[in-house]
């Protein structure tokens, strides 16, 4: 059974159809890429999956459960985490707190226990703090645990965002342009890094990307969007030679 199943998903903003009749089934442990030119509707697909937008039509299922109409925090709690195209860390908060916030749902004490710091509070706080520190140390961010997130260099902010997403305990990780602002050398490292994340955290990954080098290098399957419509889907080798894709990326004349 597919882990995530999108069927006939359509989303309209007023008159504009941002995504139309989008279909995608992702099997557990797969690494799928969503590519397409600027404004093709890639990020909208992520916003639909995570519940930021509500799909106008169609269904989105995670392990058979319908996600359309659920609130974002519920969807995240049921196992989908994401990063953002333009980094959205909690900038004024410490690196540690960024990760601890992502443990929100895993904290088993009541508001009353939190107000009085009694009962399960201490043990739970300790458990979550240790877990967050362990995660940070895996990402080599533990030395910066008490720094404010905004003071980290760009590369580390990207890494922290992935760590934070993983702290929610996802089955499915959505990465929105993780290679933005990276040079070719860093992209090579990022490819290894993404493979390593999939192995270590046992997650399924959907990736939005512009950088063809990255997408072709690691994705097992690709979906190509243009003006909200799916123009191609298949193995990277098939996509590379697909005339429609070349047209969308390079323009009509160059493709012919």
């Amino acid at each position: 059974m597919a882990l995530l199943d999108l069927q006939h998903v359509t989303h309209r903003f007023e008159g504009l159809t941002a995504v139309s009749d989008f279909n995608l089934a992702v099997a557990p442990h797969e690494l799928v890429g969503v590519i397409g030119p600027n404004g093709a509707g890639k990020t909208t697909v992520f916003n639909l999956i995570t519940g930021v937008y509500r799909a106008t039509e169609g269904s989105i299922r995670l392990e058979g459960r319908e996600l359309v109409g659920q609130t974002p925090h519920r969807i995240t709690a049921s196992g989908i985490a994401r990063t953002f195209q333009n980094i959205r860390l909690f900038r004024e908060l410490s690196v540690l707190d960024n990760v601890r916030i992502a443990h929100y749902r895993q904290m088993a004490y009541s508001p009353a226990e939190a107000l009085l710091h009694i009962g399960r509070f201490r043990a739970e706080e300790k458990r979550i703090t240790l877990g967050a520190l362990d995660l940070l140390s895996i990402f080599k961010l533990d030395d910066a645990a008490n720094e404010k997130a905004k003071n980290l260099p760009y590369g580390l902010q990207r890494r922290l965002e992935i760590a934070r997403a993983l702290a929610t305990g996802p089955k499915l990780l959505l990465l929105d342009e993780p290679a933005a602002g990276m040079n070719p050398n860093e992209i090579l490292q990022l490819m290894d890094f993404i493979r390593w994340i999939r192995r270590t955290f046992d997650v399924t990954i959907i990736l939005i990307e512009h950088q063809m080098r990255l997408v072709m290098g690691i994705c097992e399957r690709l979906v190509v969007l243009d003006f909200g419509a799916t123009i191609a889907a298949g193995l990277p080798s098939e996509i590379r030679t697909n005339p429609k894709v070349m047209e969308a990326y390079l323009g009509e004349e160059a493709a012919s």
Partner: protein, 347 residues
């Protein structure tokens, strides 16, 4: 010069070690309570000074609770005076009409608590529509709320209408103010350093990202708002029984503005800042009393200068170690030590 510096360092380290002791806060609180009881009983502190200390305490409660919304959560509420009014009237009606005369002193904490609970309930009702959508609606809703409370109170003859409510005994004593102030500071500090508090902070930083990190932002906002209005109600109950007279005009938007000034003077998102802001503002207002109407010119001017040179307030977004939970720091230290002992733990 160098000697002064080393002296400063030694004293700072001594101070830090002292405050890190387990018995530091219990000792401070016991001393404070003992002093307030003694001052109340034997009147060795001038009555006027006592009243100012009472106002300082009430203002600390108001500031620290509003800071939860305006500082930690990054929303903008101007309705604190309204919640204060709810607390003040609820508590006063209880002590004046419901409680038997002989048991006033004994039942006073219940009256204050009832004031807080009434305000919390109203806060909950205000929070539901305000937090249904994202954005700046809270400022508008709370502004309207403040006006509604005032005009409702002015039009109910049973609570004195525009003339207000009289007949409260002077039940707000130093020990009670000390108790409620300490309680509100402690509870709000606890909330801030908890899962919900981090949720509150994440709402301020980036609400969409918070939602996508599994924070139930709506629930978090409503909890924070209930706690905040609860303590505003407590402050109202204490205020009514310190002044022994209340009327609807006392709780208009000017009162809310006073609290806002204290929050932004002391510093947003800071417990220490709230205390500092309330203390400075209250005492400054008293010192400037001879200036008469002119102090209403001076205070806004102070705020303008502050906003230019220190837009986040004296302690904006910072906290003294005093209010940070020791257990949290201990956990981090423990983890670091463990990692040092097993350096090959991480890949």
């Amino acid at each position: 010069m160098i000697r002064a510096k080393t002296a400063y360092r030694t004293w700072r380290d001594r101070w830090r070690r002292l405050t890190a002791r387990k018995y530091f806060w219990p000792a401070v609180l016991t001393a404070g309570l003992a002093f307030s009881i003694a001052a109340d009983k034997y009147d060795f502190v001038d009555l006027y000074v006592q009243l100012i200390i009472i106002y300082v305490g009430i203002n600390i409660i108001l500031t620290v609770s509003l800071n939860l919304i305006n500082g930690y959560m990054g929303e903008f509420s101007v309705g604190h005076a309204g919640f204060m009014a709810v607390g003040a009237y609820t508590a006063s009606l209880l002590t004046v009409y419901a409680f038997p005369p002989g048991l006033q002193q004994l039942l006073f904490p219940l009256a204050v608590l009832a004031g807080g609970l009434a305000a919390a309930l109203i806060g909950f009702l205000v929070a539901i529509p305000s937090f249904k959508t994202r954005g700046d609606y809270l400022a508008i809703v709370t502004l309207a709320f403040c006006m509604i409370v005032k005009s409702v109170l002015e039009n109910i003859d049973a609570v004195g209408g525009p003339r207000g409510l009289l007949g409260m005994e002077k039940l707000t004593t130093l020990p009670w103010v000390f108790f409620w102030t300490a309680l509100s500071v402690w509870v709000i500090r606890n909330l801030v350093y908890s899962n919900f508090g981090r949720g509150v902070l994440s709402v301020r930083e980036d609400e969409i990202a918070a939602d996508l990190m599994s924070v139930n932002t709506r629930q978090v906002k409503i909890i924070a708002f209930i706690v905040s209005s609860f303590f505003a109600g407590i402050a109202g109950g204490l205020f009514a029984h310190a002044l022994q007279f209340i009327n609807p005009r006392m709780f208009d938007i000017i009162k809310s503005t006073d609290v806002l000034i204290m929050v932004y003077l002391g510093g947003i998102a800071s417990i220490a800042g709230s205390v500092i802001g309330a203390v400075i503002y209250t005492i400054l207002l008293e010192i400037l009393r001879p200036l008469g109407v002119w102090r209403m010119v001076f205070m806004p001017l102070l705020l303008v200068v502050l906003m230019i040179y220190r837009p986040r307030g004296i302690m904006g977004l910072r906290e003294t170690r005093l209010f940070e939970p020791l257990s949290d720091l201990a956990t981090i230290t423990l983890w670091r030590q463990k990692k040092k002992e097993a350096p090959d733990g991480a890949p």
